[in-house]
């Protein structure tokens, strides 16, 4: 059984029909990427999975359990964490406080301190800045913080929304290396990216979204050599 499966979801913003019947599945231990242009519905898909938006039709199932009856904050307890678009760090809280908020759903002290150690090992920079207010961090450091914060909840599935956005190439490499490492340590990852070549570089499989629908789905290797994808998303002629 897939760890996460989405069946034919339709999500609306008011009257705007943003997702027009999306179905996808993620197996345990995979990195799956959603690629597509602006307004294709990538972020909306993640927000629907995390419960911030409720689909009007269709279901999101985690290990076979329908998530529609849970609110966003309850879904975190089910093992799904999200790194939101634009990072969404709490600018007036310190780095440590941000990480503590990430662990809000976990009450086990030992687990929390192990997770904190893990985050500080993945991102030594955060350890240096732990007493600093998050608003004073650079974009890259904020992305590290947002990622670390999501890991503090010991998620089974990590949803990442545009982690490369606005970052220098060297930082993008670092973040993507970390995603691979997190995945190796046992977390399933659903990665939304505009930077399709980076995303397909680390993913097992990918889905291509266009105006609220999935137009292509295949292994990452196959998508990389698909002429349509090359032309539209990889900038090759």
């Amino acid at each position: 059984m897939s760890i996460l499966s989405i069946e034919n979801i339709h999500t609306y913003y008011g009257n705007i029909h943003a997702l027009k019947g999306i179905s996808l599945h993620i197996e345990k231990g995979e990195i799956v990427t959603l690629i597509g242009g602006n307004g294709a519905g990538k972020t909306t898909t993640l927000r629907t999975i995390s419960g911030l938006l409720k689909p009007r039709e269709g279901t999101v199932k985690l290990n076979g359990e329908d998530l529609s009856k849970y609110k966003a904050h309850e879904i975190v307890y089910k093992g799904i964490s999200m790194v939101p678009e634009g990072r969404g760090v709490f600018a007036r809280l310190t780095v440590t406080e941000n990480l503590e908020m990430g662990a809000y759903s976990r009450n086990d002290k030992g687990e929390n301190s192990r997770n904190l150690e893990r985050v500080f090992t993945l991102f030594p920079r955060l350890k240096e800045r732990r007493t600093q207010v998050a608003g004073t961090l650079s974009g890259g450091e904020q992305q590290m913080l947002a990622t670390g914060r999501a890991l503090m909840a010991s998620p089974n599935i990590l949803l990442m929304d545009e982690p490369s956005m606005g970052l220098a190439p060297v930082l993008v490499e670092l973040i993507f290396d970390t995603i691979q490492q997190i995945n190796k340590e046992g977390t399933t990852v659903l990665l939304v990216e505009q930077n399709a070549s980076m995303a397909l570089g680390i993913a097992n499989r990918g889905y291509v979204l266009q105006t609220g629908q999935i137009v292509l789905s295949d292994s990452a290797e196959a998508l990389k050599s698909n002429p349509t994808v090359q032309k539209a998303y990889l900038g090759m002629e």
Binding site: K71, A72, H73, Y77, G88, F90, L93, E97
Partner: protein, 354 residues
């Protein structure tokens, strides 16, 4: 590319600066004349300052309620003054019944604690119902809607109390242990009740500061005030945190209601209006949404309002300047809104929204 724009000085700005300068000149000139005339003794100034500090402490406690709710919902809870009134009112009933039964005389300290508990519980109940019934259904509505609802709720509560308990002014029972004065050196003395008010308020504010800074719920409150959806993604139950915020603010308002009625010894259904408005002024003065600002704003307003009329106006030959204390307080509000709309410790609104 952003081009530099030279700010044009227009006539309105110039006029406002002139008004500001004139007020400043009035304050400095008036103070100079008053002090030169030497009509008031040091003891009288001291009394005024201590009274101002006590009153300011009450303003600060109420102001915290405005500022906490604003910080988390970006909404002015205009019914907060009625949360304060409700606590004071029901606390009054506890006080009178204990006084009548003789319990107050036998256990004065326990009695005072009970008054506080009753008042704070009442305020908390009112606030929780208010949030659940009047505000929560409107979350996500345009900002004007909850504002109008809050004003409506304020009148609703006032008239509920008026309907149940009538319009008369009720005299607060005299509690023996908080009467009288502590002698200091020389002619200086200080009223017991003022000491109690100042210390009680300081303790509660210290508690609040520690709570917001160090507890899990306090940190979650700060997180929710920054970004509700990201807070939900952390597993924070945003509704629960909003309710906790109302509870905290209301408990402080209920306590402030008791302290206020201990000081002024009168309880009526409209007693919340002026202190509520003053506390709102204090919250804006300190920078709304900023708890230390509310504390500072409250204390500053209390002292300003207590010393101000006599200090600024007496020397100018204005009779009975103390009658003008509300004029002084609200003039200051208008001036703050014109010259520093973000308040003393406030941040820029654009930054809050980003």
């Amino acid at each position: 590319m952003q081009s530099y724009r030279i700010r044009r000085i227009n006539w309105t700005d110039l006029f406002m600066w002139l008004v500001g300068a004139a007020l400043l000149a009035l304050i400095i000139g008036g103070s100079y004349l008053t002090l030169q005339q030497g009509k008031y003794t040091a003891v009288q100034w001291f009394d005024l300052a201590v009274f101002g500090l006590a009153q300011g402490s009450v303003y600060a406690l109420i102001a915290l309620g405005y500022t906490l709710v604003y910080g988390i919902l970006r909404m002015i809870n205009f019914a907060h003054s009625e949360i304060f009134m409700g606590g004071a009112f029901i606390g009054y009933f506890a006080a009178t019944s204990m006084q009548r039964s003789g319990f107050m005389e036998a256990n004065p300290y326990l009695g005072i604690v009970i008054i506080f508990l009753v008042a704070m519980t009442t305020s908390v109940i009112i606030a929780v119902l208010l949030e659940r019934i009047a505000y929560r259904p409107l979350r996500g509505a345009p900002r004007l809607v909850p504002l109008i609802t809050a004003i409506g709720a304020s009148y609703f509560l006032q008239y509920v109390f008026r309907g149940f308990f009538g319009t008369q002014n009720r005299a607060y029972p005299e509690i023996a242990v908080i009467k009288g004065t502590f002698p200091l050196f020389g002619d200086f003395q200080i009223q017991k009740i003022q000491v109690i008010v100042i210390i009680a308020a300081a303790l509660m504010m210290a508690f609040l500061a520690v709570f917001v800074q160090y507890t899990k719920t306090g940190k979650a409150m700060r997180a929710v005030s920054e970004d509700k959806s990201v807070a939900a993604l952390m597993g924070i139950d945003v509704d629960k945190i909003i309710v906790s915020t109302f509870v905290l603010g209301a408990a402080l308002a209920g306590a402030a209601g008791v302290l206020y009625s201990f000081m002024f010894r009168i309880v009526t259904f409209y007693m919340g209006f002026i202190p509520g408005l003053k506390a709102f002024t204090a919250a804006v003065l300190g920078g709304i949404g900023n708890p230390p600002g509310a504390m500072l704003g409250g204390l500053f307003l209390g002292i300003f309002e207590s010393l101000g009329p006599t200090l600024f106006l007496d020397g100018l030959g204005i009779p009975a300047p103390y009658q003008l204390k509300d004029v002084i307080a609200f003039t200051m509000l208008v001036m703050v809104l014109i010259f520093r709309p973000t308040g003393i410790l406030g941040e820029r609104l654009s930054k809050t929204k980003a």
